[in-house]
């Protein structure tokens, strides 16, 4: 086991920059998740870490050793692939022992270690089978087994759960978490799924267009997103975004009212502020800031309800290219035009009927509308000068 130090890694194909100055220090035994939309460079980073692709510049150290240009097989890391990449012509036992065999480990020891790993993953009865005779979940376990048998310095996992169905995915998520707890091996895990990142990581690295957006533990990531992109990416349903209006009094208005409890500030140069409000921070009934809405859609999920309503025209924001939305551009357009409240244990809510909702302005996240960077109250105050 070892710490990993990634320094200023860049990767480009011609004019296309896949990775821009990626730097990250990973502690021994840490579970780090690289997360971001497809094409953000997270998988490329993992491949560079594994030695399967060359970096254009930068260095990588595993432990004390500079491995920037060391062969993948000599880095002492193990990798789990999205499609598992089990060797179809070998049995499960041979698959798991392949890496040890390549390193010249005696056959007896290979058998022993494969048996150990198989027992811990509950796949002992599959050892003589071939990959095509296994179910998706079993293949996943074998792929994990192949990694742990090696007892490597680090595990690299490239979207290992995305080929599983939803239920199995939740189960394997817990299992990988438990495995990490037990073995304590440094793990770098790549995914596009923020839920996986939030539930599994010690630390999350959010990426977009080859650049790191924020590095933080899940709590901080949720509570203090560094910019609009992170704020929109983490959390489900995603954060609501509103454009703040400058009131004549110098304060900021939302839903036609000057917000109480917010410092009456503005940014220099007439720049705009975007406010973020998490759906779970909107409550039923009166509160510090109370609004009346007419829901356009109500989704009941049993214990909780998602209530959708329109953003007042003056508070709408254009979010294209700023906030990541899985589907398409019209989706992100929508996201700037409507709000979601996530209400727990409430009575019947009907579409079109007036509904009183409230929120605490202190819970608002404020962002510079131009740069997307999060503003602390101090920033906004400074902006007045």
């Amino acid at each position: 086991m070892a710490n990993i130090s990634i320094r200023n890694i860049c990767k480009s194909y011609g004019n296309l920059n896949i990775l821009k100055n990626f730097s990250l220090d990973i502690d021994d035994g840490e579970f780090v998740v690289l997360v971001g939309p497809s094409g953000c460079g997270k998988s490329t980073m993992l491949k560079i870490l594994a030695g399967l692709e060359a970096a254009s510049s930068g260095t990588i150290h595993i432990g004390k050793r500079d491995v920037t240009d060391i062969a993948p097989g000599d880095r002492d890391v193990a990798m789990v692939f999205q499609n598992y990449a089990l060797y179809p012509h070998l049995t499960v036992a041979q698959n798991m022992g392949f890496g040890l065999k390549m390193r010249g480990t005696p056959a007896a020891e290979i058998t022993l270690r494969v048996a150990d790993a198989a027992r811990s993953l509950d796949i002992e009865h599959l050892l003589a089978r071939r990959p095509r005779q296994l179910s998706g979940g079993q293949r996943q376990r074998v792929a994990l087994g192949r990694a742990i048998v090696r007892e490597p310095q680090a595990f690299l996992m490239d979207e290992p759960l995305s080929n599983l169905d939803a239920k199995l995915r939740v189960h394997m998520r817990a299992e990988i978490g438990a495995l990490h707890q037990r073995l304590g091996v440094t793990t770098i895990y790549v995914t596009h799924d923020q839920t996986e990142a939030m539930t599994m990581a010690n630390r999350i690295v959010i990426m977009k267009d080859g650049e790191i957006q924020q590095i933080a533990d899940p709590e901080t990531m949720f509570a203090k997103p560094a910019n609009l992109f992170v704020a929109g990416f983490i959390g489900s349903p995603g954060m609501n975004f509103l454009k703040l209006e400058q009131a004549a009094s110098g304060g900021l208005t939302l839903f036609g009212q000057v917000l109480p409890g917010l410092p009456a500030v503005t940014l220099s140069g007439g720049r705009n502020i975007i406010a973020g409000l998490r759906p779970e921070h909107i409550r039923m009934g009166e509160g510090a800031a109370t609004i009346t809405v007419h829901p356009s859609l109500v989704e009941g999920l049993g214990s909780e309800k998602y209530v959708y309503f329109d953003t007042p025209v003056e508070n709408r924001v254009a979010l294209q290219g700023v906030v990541h939305v899985e589907k398409d551009e019209s989706e992100s357009q929508q996201r700037g035009n409507r709000l979601i409240a996530r209400l727990m244990d409430v009575g019947p809510v009907r579409v079109g009927e007036a509904l009183r909702l409230s929120f605490d302005p202190a819970r608002l996240h404020l962002f510079d509308a131009t740069t997307g960077v999060a503003l602390s109250p101090a920033d906004t105050l400074a902006g007045t000068g």
């Binding site: 692939f81 060797y87 390549m102």
Partner: protein, 276 residues
């Protein structure tokens, strides 16, 4: 329900008639081989050999060096396929996996050379083989057949490698293989069916050649291939069609056997590089 039964009946009839009609020449070859020579000089012809003359095969094998011709054909095919496969496996893998500078134009050239007429290459090859003393030697057609086979096998194999996920060799490399080790320990074993189909396809191409053998081997009787040998039988002033047919069956048999095995790979092979 009734019209459906009728269409079904009609369908069977149509299939039966079509098959019978199209396969008839092959059937006729067999009937001819098994007929007594004098029966072939009668009209109307007999469509069913009353007393099949099975001894024609042993007779023809005794009279003509068909065994030698078949062995020569097999040897040439084996040599040409071996050379072609070694070269095409490596090149096909490279074209499938690496972005090599000029790789695409090489691929295009190979694809175009599938369409070269043999009659064009045969002249300069004749010159080259004359100079190197290979005329009359099986090596001449081994190399000549390689020009036919390599373009096909390279594209077939590239197509086959494209269907194998890259993660497989990446996993092997993380497990400690060198890139070449990954190719030999993982990719090639996994590709075994594709390699077999490709090699057999190359075998068919070599076995079917006539132009090169005719040009390079006509004066070297001991190295005649099956196709060359049989055309010399046909050219004799009295053609004994029963004998020729029997010899033809012996020559076609290996290819028909391969065809039965290859049938399901055929489409992929024929269309490789020319269609999606």
């Amino acid at each position: 329900m009734k019209p459906r039964i009728l269409t079904q009946l009609f369908l069977y009839a149509a299939v039966l008639v079509t098959c019978a009609f199209l396969i008839f020449p092959i059937y006729w070859l067999v009937v001819t081989a098994l007929s007594q020579p004098d029966q072939l000089r009668q009209l109307p012809p007999r469509f069913w050999p009353a007393d099949p003359n099975w001894s024609v095969f042993s007779k023809i094998l005794g009279e003509r060096p068909i065994g030698l011709w078949l062995a020569n054909s097999a040897l040439a095919a084996f040599g040409a396929v071996t050379i072609s496969m070694v070269v095409s496996v490596l090149a096909g893998y490279s074209l499938s996996r690496f972005r090599v500078r000029g790789g695409q134009s090489l691929g295009l050239f190979i694809l175009t050379s599938k369409m070269l007429p043999a009659t064009l290459l045969v002249i300069p090859l004749f010159g080259i083989f004359r100079m190197t003393g290979l005329i009359g030697s099986l090596w001449s057609i081994i190399f000549a057949h390689a020009t036919l086979i390599i373009p096909f096998t390279t594209w077939m194999l590239k197509g086959y490698f494209d269907t194998i996920p890259r993660e497989l060799e990446q996993a092997a490399m993380v497990d400690g293989c060198s890139p070449l080790g990954a190719l030999f320990r993982v990719i090639l074993p996994v590709s075994a069916p594709g390699l077999a189909a490709t090699a057999l396809y190359g075998f068919v191409l070599s076995w079917s050649d006539y132009a090169f053998a005719r040009t390079f081997l006509t004066n070297a009787q001991n190295n005649w291939t099956a196709n060359l040998g049989i055309t010399t039988m046909k050219g004799e002033y009295i053609s004994n069609w029963a004998d020729i047919s029997a010899a033809s069956i012996l020559i076609a048999l290996p290819i028909l056997a391969i065809y039965l095995f290859l049938e399901r790979y055929l489409v992929g092979g024929l269309t490789a590089g020319s269609d999606k």
